[in-house]
Amino acid sequence: MKRINGLALGAVLALMPATAQAWEPATTQAGLAEQAALSSRLHKRLVTLGFNGGLFEPLTIPPADAPSLMAALKLLSPTHGAVPDGRGRQVALGWLAAGAALADVPAAHGANHFYDPRTGRGWSSPGRGLGNTITDKVREALGRAAVPESGQPAVAWVTAKANPFNLDAFLDQYAKAVSAATPGERSRHMAAALIAAGAIMHVLGDLGAPSRVRGDEAAHLAPLGGGPDDLGSRMERAAALAYGRLGVPAPSRTITRTRLRDFFTSKDGGGLADLIERSYFSPNTLPRSSRVSSEIKPKLERPLPALPSRLNIMAANRDEGTVLRDATGTCLARYHVDHDILSFSIEDDCMLEQLAVILPEVAAYETGLLDFLLRGELSISVSDRIVVSGKGLGAGTIEVLVEDNRGIRTRLTSAATNGSNEPLASVPAPSTGGRLLAVFHGADKAGEPIVAVGAMPLAH
C-alpha cells in the first residue's frame, strides 16, 4: 500500500516543474498550526477563560475594527480553513491558522524567517546573475514581485518591533482577552492573540526547512511552474502537494523549553534550527562533487551531516546511483558516479522521506511553543477573600476581575508585584458575580515575558 501511495505522489510531483525548500503559508503552515493546537493546552485554556467552545468557539473581529487585517485575510483561500465569514467570525482554530498563513504577508516578511545557527545570519538575497538582476529590477519597476535584499534572523524577528505579530502583540492581546469588559471585546482580543501566536509558530516552523538554516537562499529560486515570477523552494512545494493543510502529521511529541529563543536555537544544540542544520543537506549545501579516481573524499560545505567513512562507489556507478542515509535510515541524498565524477543530489523521493521525519518534529516544536506561550497559570481560591497565587513569576502587574451574569467583567484590583509576594493578590470576595478571573502581565523567573491567567466559577 505504501508503494502505491508513493507512486501516486510521484505522479503528482512529476507534474510539478522544478525545485523547493520551507513551508507554504496557507497549506503546510496552517496545517502545522492546527496540529499543534489540537495537541496543546489551548482548547482547555480557552474553555477555562470562558470561550466555552474552546478551539471551536466562534470568535469575531468586526471588519470595521481591522480593515487592513480583513484585507490581508481576503488574500487567503477559504478552502484552507482560515477565512472568517462576512461578519469577521470564525472559530478559534481558524484564527490560529490565519496567523500561520498571514506571517508571509507581505512576502517581504518571509525574508525574516531564516536563521543560520552557524553564522547567526538571516536571509541574504542570493545573486541571480546579470540577466535575472535586470529582470528583477524591471519587475520591481512594474510593481511586481521583488526579492528582498536581506532579512532579520528569525529568532530576532519574533520579538522585533517591526513585526506586527510579535511576542508583545500576542501577550498584549492575550491579557486583554481576559481583562476586557465585554464578551465582544474579549472575543476580538482572543482572535488577535491567536493570529499573533499562529504567526510566531510559523516563524519557528520555517526553521524546519534545511535551506533556511543552512544559508541556502538560492534553494528558494527554483522555478515552480507558474510563470517567470514563480520561483520558490521545491521542498516547500513538495510538502504542500504531499500533505496540504489537512494531511500534515500530528506532532511526534511536545518539546519543552524554558526560553522562547531555545525553541529556535540554543547553546546545547536543542533548537529546531540547530537540529535541522546538522541533520540534513539542502540543495546547495550538498557535499561537493569530486573525481573518484583522486580518492579524495568529497568536501563538505558544513561539518554535518557527516559522510560515512566509506561511500559505496560500486553502487554509485549504477545508472540510478545509490542513497546516503542517516542513522535512522532516512534518505539524506542520492549519489552517483558519472564519467568518474561523484556527485550528490536530493531527489523527490528522498525529499519526501525527509518530510515524513521533519514535519512531525516541526509540529512537536510548534506544540511546545504554543504551550510555552500559554504556560502562565494562576490559581484562585475563595473564602471571604479572593486569593490569587502563581508559581515561577517575576515582576509584573496582577489584575483580579469578576464577571457578572451578563458576561461583563469588572476589575476588583490591580497591583504591581515583584513576583516574590505570595499570594500575588488578596481582595475581599464580591457579593455577586458568576466567575472570577486573574491575569498577570510581566516576566517569569527566567526574565521571559509572560501572561499568566486563572479563572474559577464563583458560587454564592
Binding site: N5, A8, A11, V12, M16, P17, A18, T19, E24, E34, L38, N52, G53, L55, F56, P58, K74, L75, S77, P78, T79, H80, G81, D85, Q90, V91, L93, V105, P106, A107, G127, R128, G129, L130, I134, K137, A141, L142, G143, V147, P148, H220, L221, A222, L224, G225, G226, G227, P228, D229, G232, A242, G244, G247, P283, R288, S289, E301, E347, D348
Partner: protein, 385 residues
C-alpha cells in the same frame, strides 16, 4: 564551486504551462552588476521585452486529470463538471453545496497569498454540477490551486484534493465527468476533523455551524455514549430509506411529471436505527414534496416507536391496511401513512403533500410499495430480525 544538484523532475510541463512565452530565469549564481542593471536605456529595453513576453500571469500545472480516463492534466482555470451520488444507493444527490475556490499567489522566492475566487452553487435534480471557467486573475498573481468541496448535511463532505478517511491525497478527481461518491455520516466520525476538512468561508460556515458543539465536546473527551448507532452497524441487513421508495415509484402512482431533489431529511442524521429520504419537488411548493422515514429496531422498541407516532401525530386513524399495523393521518396540507412491520422491527412513516398525493389512497399505495420492498430486502428466511 558548488554544483547545482541534479533533480529528477520534469521541467517541461510547468514552465509557463504552455499558455505563453517561457521566461524562466537562469539559475547561475552570480553577483549582480548593478551599474548595468541601473542603466536607464537597458532598463527600458528589458521592460519592453518583459512587458511583451512575460508580464501575463500564468498557472501552475493542475494536479488532476482532464477526465477520469485521460492521462493529461486538467486546467486549473476550469470549467469543471461532474455528478454527485450516494455511495451506497448510487442515487443522485440534489441540492448539495458545490463550492469551488481558486487560490492565487504572488511573489518570487518568498511567496505570499494573493487572494482567491469562490464559486457557490448546488447540484441539480440529477446530482450534476458545473463550475464555470475562472474569469480573471489579479494583476501580478498566478493561479496555484483549484479546490472543489461538496457538502450535504447527513453526508461526509467531499474535497477534490484530499480524502476524509485518511486525509491522504485524492487522486481520482477529474476536471470533467467527475464522479463524487458521498458517504453517509456515521456517528463515530469526528466533527472536529470534519470541520477542519470542509474549510471556512461564509457559505460553508453557515451550513456546518451545527457541528461546532459536537466538535468542541469531542475535544473535551465527550463522545456519544451508548449503543453503536452507526448506519450499517445494527443487527441484520443494512437498509436505508432511499432503497424503499424511488422517484419512479412516486411518478407511477401520482403521475407527477416534474423532478425531485433527493437527500436525507434535515431533522436528524441517519443512524443504524434510522434513515430518511426527502423528495423535494423542483420549482413546486412543498405540497408536492414526499418524505419517508424508516426506523429499524428490535421488536419491542419498534412497537413502542409505532405507539409514539400514534400519540404524536394529529388526525390519526388506525387502518391496519399495511404491514402488521398501519394508520393514516392528515394535518393541513400534509397526508401521512405509517406502518409497523412487527416481525422485522420496521416502522415506516410516509408524508406526502396534498398536491402530490391528491388522496390518502396515493399515500397508502406508496406505503404498500415500500412494504413490498422491505419484504424483498429483508426476507424472513435471512433473519430479517
Amino acid at each position: 564551486m558548488t554544483l547545482t544538484p541534479h533533480l529528477s523532475v520534469s521541467t517541461t510541463s510547468g514552465l509557463g504551462n504552455g499558455l505563453g512565452p517561457v521566461c524562466n530565469g537562469r539559475r547561475t549564481l552570480l553577483r549582480p552588476a548593478r551599474s548595468v542593471a541601473n542603466h536607464p536605456a537597458y532598463r527600458l529595453a528589458i521592460l519592453v521585452v518583459l512587458a511583451a513576453g512575460c508580464a501575463a500571469s500564468a498557472n501552475r500545472t493542475a494536479p488532476f486529470r482532464v477526465r477520469p480516463d485521460a492521462a493529461d492534466p486538467g486546467s486549473l482555470q476550469g470549467p469543471f463538471d461532474g455528478r454527485v451520488v450516494d455511495v451506497t444507493t448510487h442515487a443522485p444527490i440534489a441540492g448539495a453545496l458545490v463550492y469551488g475556490a481558486w487560490t492565487f499567489e504572488r511573489g518570487t522566492a518568498l511567496l505570499e497569498p494573493a487572494g482567491s475566487k469562490e464559486f457557490v452553487a448546488s447540484t441539480d435534480a440529477a446530482g450534476y454540477y458545473k463550475v464555470p471557467t475562472l474569469g480573471g486573475v489579479p494583476s501580478g498573481a498566478r493561479v496555484t490551486e483549484f479546490t472543489l468541496m461538496i457538502y450535504k448535511r447527513g453526508y461526509i463532505a467531499y474535497r477534490s484534493d484530499r480524502r476524509f478517511s485518511d486525509l491522504g491525497l485524492r487522486m481520482d478527481f477529474a476536471q470533467h465527468a467527475n464522479q463524487v461518491l458521498l458517504e453517509r455520516w456515521r456517528t463515530e466520525l469526528s466533527h472536529s476533523r470534519h470541520l477542519r476538512f470542509v474549510g471556512s468561508g461564509t457559505a460553508v460556515a453557515l451550513l456546518t455551524q451545527w457541528e461546532l458543539a459536537d466538535a468542541s465536546a469531542e475535544l473535551d473527551g465527550k463522545r456519544p455514549q451508548g449503543d453503536d448507532v452507526r448506519p450499517g452497524r445494527g443487527e441484520g441487513t443494512y437498509i436505508v430509506a432511499a432503497q424503499l421508495l424511488t422517484e419512479t415509484d412516486i411518478k407511477n402512482r401520482t403521475k407527477y411529471d416534474g423532478g425531485f431533489e433527493t437527500g436525507p431529511l434535515q431533522d436528524e442524521p441517519d443512524t443504524a436505527n434510522y434513515s430518511s429520504q426527502h423528495f423535494k419537488a423542483l420549482a413546486r411548493p412543498e405540497t408536492w414534496d414526499i418524505a419517508i422515514r424508516m426506523w429499524k429496531l428490535d421488536a419491542g422498541k419498534a412497537q413502542e416507536r409505532y405507539e409514539e407516532l400514534l400519540t404524536q401525530l394529529p388526525g390519526i386513524a388506525e387502518k391496519d391496511e399495511v404491514g402488521s399495523r398501519s394508520f393514516v393521518a392528515t394535518e393541513g396540507e400534509i397526508r401521512g401513512v405509517g406502518f409497523l412491520d412487527a416481525p422485522r422491527g420496521i416502522v415506516v412513516l410516509i408524508t406526502c403533500g396534498i398536491s402530490q398525493c391528491s388522496s390518502i389512497d396515493d399515500a397508502t399505495s406508496l406505503s404498500k410499495t415500500v412494504y413490498d420492498r422491505v419484504k424483498t430486502l429483508l426476507p424472513m428466511s435471512l433473519g430479517g430480525k
